[in-house]
């Protein structure tokens, strides 16, 4: 028994401690969970993070604002576009510039596409965690279509770097609208298939219902946001409560479930995919003409002060705090990553359930490790 485990109170005789991770098929990255077991039952979980800590916040202190954007891609690489947007919005808020309407529309469409592809990948890996390997390929097959749209317009598939303070790197590709509509048509057919394959499945329902319950109060207290928080009935959609971009003009529903178990977190994400498609359908035909970028100075200097921007990333609330000293570099840039807060609730969620449930709960929280570690 290591010194470390002794300190954390995991050295009681009857407990059986296993390390899940850093290399493990279902930690979705390099996360280490020190799990103390009694038989199959999880007594406590202790996450150990930091295996891919890169010090992005520190790096940002030496980079100009347009340069920061490409680092935010590498936080939660599955919602890269939304992370980009968060920093851009924060800079635009500080500079008090109004971006053109066209930019807002395109950003919203791309954000929702990002959300869809992120949830698709979540669905694949959740199925994989449950042991239904086939889900993985169906999800990836449809996600590929979104990535093609990204590649055609942004140039990158996952790491898009498409936003820039003031607007976008370049205008959308002429095929963009056509391809998005094609994708929506395709995905409306395929999404019910997901339900047939996994959602309705009796094994999956038995494994997720009433498992990993977190109450609304606990969810708020632990800062569990995004689909995981909404599964507990915590209405935490930043797009609704603190709208940014075009979100105050579009009509969508924030899916809320009361139970707070793994299944409700699952359902929230499935519903969000439908809602995202609804948002895109409202916007895709009405993209106004205009510039794709506001006029910006070549060197962006933020006025002295503190700026905070919250956006709804695919996994929860992403916050960007910029403290500027009037320089072209930020004095301090803090990224409030949704996954770190979501992860902190893992012990509460998984204690008392089985190892298989721990894996399913981890899958339903859908953490992305680079976002936890930053």
């Amino acid at each position: 028994m290591t010194e470390e485990n002794k300190n954390s109170g995991l050295d009681k005789e009857e407990e059986y401690i296993i390390n899940i991770g850093p290399q493990h098929p279902s930690t979705h990255g390099v996360l280490r969970l020190v799990v103390s077991l009694k038989g199959e039952i999880v007594k406590s979980v202790e996450p150990h993070c930091g295996y891919i800590h890169r010090g992005i916040e520190k790096m940002c202190e030496k980079l100009t604002y347009p340069q920061i954007i490409h680092l935010t891609d590498r936080l939660d690489y599955l919602s890269a576009h939304i992370n980009n947007e968060a920093v851009c919005l924060c800079v635009e808020k500080a500079l008090e510039i109004e971006v053109p309407e066209r930019v807002k529309y395109i950003r919203a469409i791309l954000s929702e596409l990002t959300r869809i592809q992120s949830h698709e990948l979540w669905w694949c890996s959740f199925g994989m965690d449950m042991g239904a390997t086939t889900c993985y390929f169906y999800g990836l097959r449809d996600r590929e279509k979104v990535l093609d749209i990204f590649e055609e317009t942004c140039g990158g598939r996952m790491i898009v770097s498409y936003n820039t303070p003031g607007g976008l790197m370049n205008d959308i590709h002429p095929n963009f609208q056509k391809r998005v509509k094609e994708f929506l048509k395709h995905f409306r057919k395929k999404l019910p298939e997901y339900d047939q394959l996994l959602t309705g499945n009796v094994i999956m329902q038995e494994r997720t219902k009433n498992i990993g319950i977190i109450s609304r109060e606990d969810a708020i207290s632990y800062g569990v946001t995004g689909p995981s928080g909404r599964g507990s009935g915590f209405s935490c959609d930043v797009r609704k409560h603190h709208p940014y971009g075009i979100y105050d003009k579009v009509d969508f529903v924030e899916p809320l479930y009361k139970t707070g178990d793994t299944f409700s977190r699952y359902k929230v994400r499935m519903d969000e995919m439908w809602e995202s498609m609804k948002i895109i359908e409202q916007l895709i035909d009405n993209i106004p003409e205009g510039d794709y970028c506001a006029k910006m100075k070549p060197v962006i200097k933020l006025p002295e002060g503190e700026y905070y921007q919250r956006v709804e990333a695919a996994r929860g609330e992403l916050g960007v705090y910029i403290n500027s000293r009037g320089d072209k570099y930020p004095y301090r840039l803090k990224l409030r990553s949704p996954n770190l807060s979501n992860l902190s609730a893992l012990n509460v969620l998984a204690s008392g359930f089985k190892i298989a449930d721990l894996i399913a709960i981890g899958g339903s929280l859908d953490y992305v490790i680079p976002d936890i570690d930053r």
Partner: protein
């Protein structure tokens, strides 16, 4: 009768007779055993390679993929390449492992499959041994493989392996009941445990048709329980890739891992062939009582084609299960057995006995 074209009884008896005529009984027996052993080893290699390839292709097609396609046309040599890779891999010694048991475990697993396959009739007269307690024997030896799994988990000095092995123990102890009871249902109908008799009894119709409702229920239960017995998805808790990395064989590498891997596929073949023999008539062609012309046409199709056709169809269904369903949790696994399969099964045996007594079967 065209039936005799494919009757292997005279062929096997001729080998037997010529060996005993030319050699002393002891040597004749040793030679016979060697021939059968070599034949089964060759059969293992072929069936193992084929099943691995089939599984990969089946799962690929279900997942909108192509599957192996690089080595040879349509990737048919892929599994042979994999075999050579496994043979050449280093056997990694594990620190603090119980060396003897660690090395013994894969052999126990593979030997039990060897024992079980001996009793299976591939065609008329083409079986290694024909017990009068054939089914009973198969049930007994096939459940011994759990010892190998438990030893593997215990001796690996790995916590994941131990959890996997314990799960496997609980699983096989429970599902053994269902396998046994669902086969007993058919034994009630057949009135014999000898596999050759069971097959002969299906000459005028397979038991799944003859026994109608209880036989179908027994077949479905057998299929579920057999999938669980072979530790295949959705019952692959002992391996549980996303939970326990690889379960009981986490620490094995090279040829020892290959033994576990091969044993899984051979086990699948064995359970499928038992299902084919007991429920679907084994090598017996599709006969309908009274339709002589139709039956004669069916007899021209060789019996081993019937046997392997049925077996691979059942294997396909087991693969279909694996590539569709999420894995069960350990308590769900036990609930399924003790709350659903076992009571239904017990009731089913009674129902079958009643039907046989009343003569309602065909």
């Amino acid at each position: 009768m065209p039936f005799n074209i494919y009757d292997f009884t005279s062929f096997t008896q001729w080998i037997d007779k010529s060996l005993y005529d030319s050699l002393s009984p002891l040597w004749a027996m040793i030679w016979e055993m060697t021939i059968i052993g070599v034949a089964f080893l060759l059969f293992y290699a072929v069936i193992g390679l084929f099943l691995v390839y089939a599984e990969r292709k089946v799962c690929a097609f279900m997942q909108c993929r192509i599957g192996p396609n690089r080595v040879g046309p349509y990737g048919i040599i892929q599994t042979i390449a994999d075999l050579f890779k496994l043979l050449m891999k280093e056997l990694i010694p594990i620190k603090n492992a119980d060396k003897f048991l660690f090395n013994l475990a894969p052999f126990i697993v593979i030997i039990t499959t060897f024992l079980a396959i001996a009793a299976i009739p591939f065609a008329k007269g083409l079986h290694a041994i024909d017990f009068n307690i054939g089914i009973f024997y198969i049930l007994a030896v096939s459940s011994m493989s759990v010892i190998g799994v438990l030893l593997a988990g215990w001796s690996s000095n790995n916590k994941y392996s131990l959890i996997g092995a314990m799960r496997s123990g609980a699983q096989i102890v429970s599902y053994e009941l269902s396998v046994g009871l669902s086969l007993i249902t058919i034994i009630v109908l057949a009135g014999s445990m000898q596999l050759s008799t069971i097959v002969e009894a299906q000459a005028d119709g397979w038991f799944i048709f003859k026994g109608h409702i209880p036989a179908i229920i027994a077949f479905i239960i057998y299929l579920i329980a057999a999938t669980a017995e072979t530790n295949r998805g959705p019952f692959d808790l002992a391996e549980a890739e996303s939970e326990l990395t690889a379960g009981y064989h986490t620490e094995y590498s090279g040829i020892k891992f290959a033994f576990f891997y091969l044993a899984e596929f051979i086990n699948m073949f064995i359970v499928a062939s038992i299902a084919a023999t007991v429920f679907w008539g084994g090598w017996m062609p599709f006969h309908i009582g009274g339709w002589e012309a139709f039956n004669n046409i069916m007899d021209y199709i060789p019996p081993f084609i019937w046997f392997f056709g049925k077996t691979f169809f059942i294997i396909f269904i087991i693969m279909w299960f694996k590539w569709t369903f999420p894995r069960l949790r350990i308590d769900q696994l036990l609930t399924l057995e003790w709350k659903y399969l076992l009571p239904i099964n017990l009731f089913n045996v009674l129902l079958m006995a009643f039907i046989v007594l009343m003569g309602w079967h065909f």
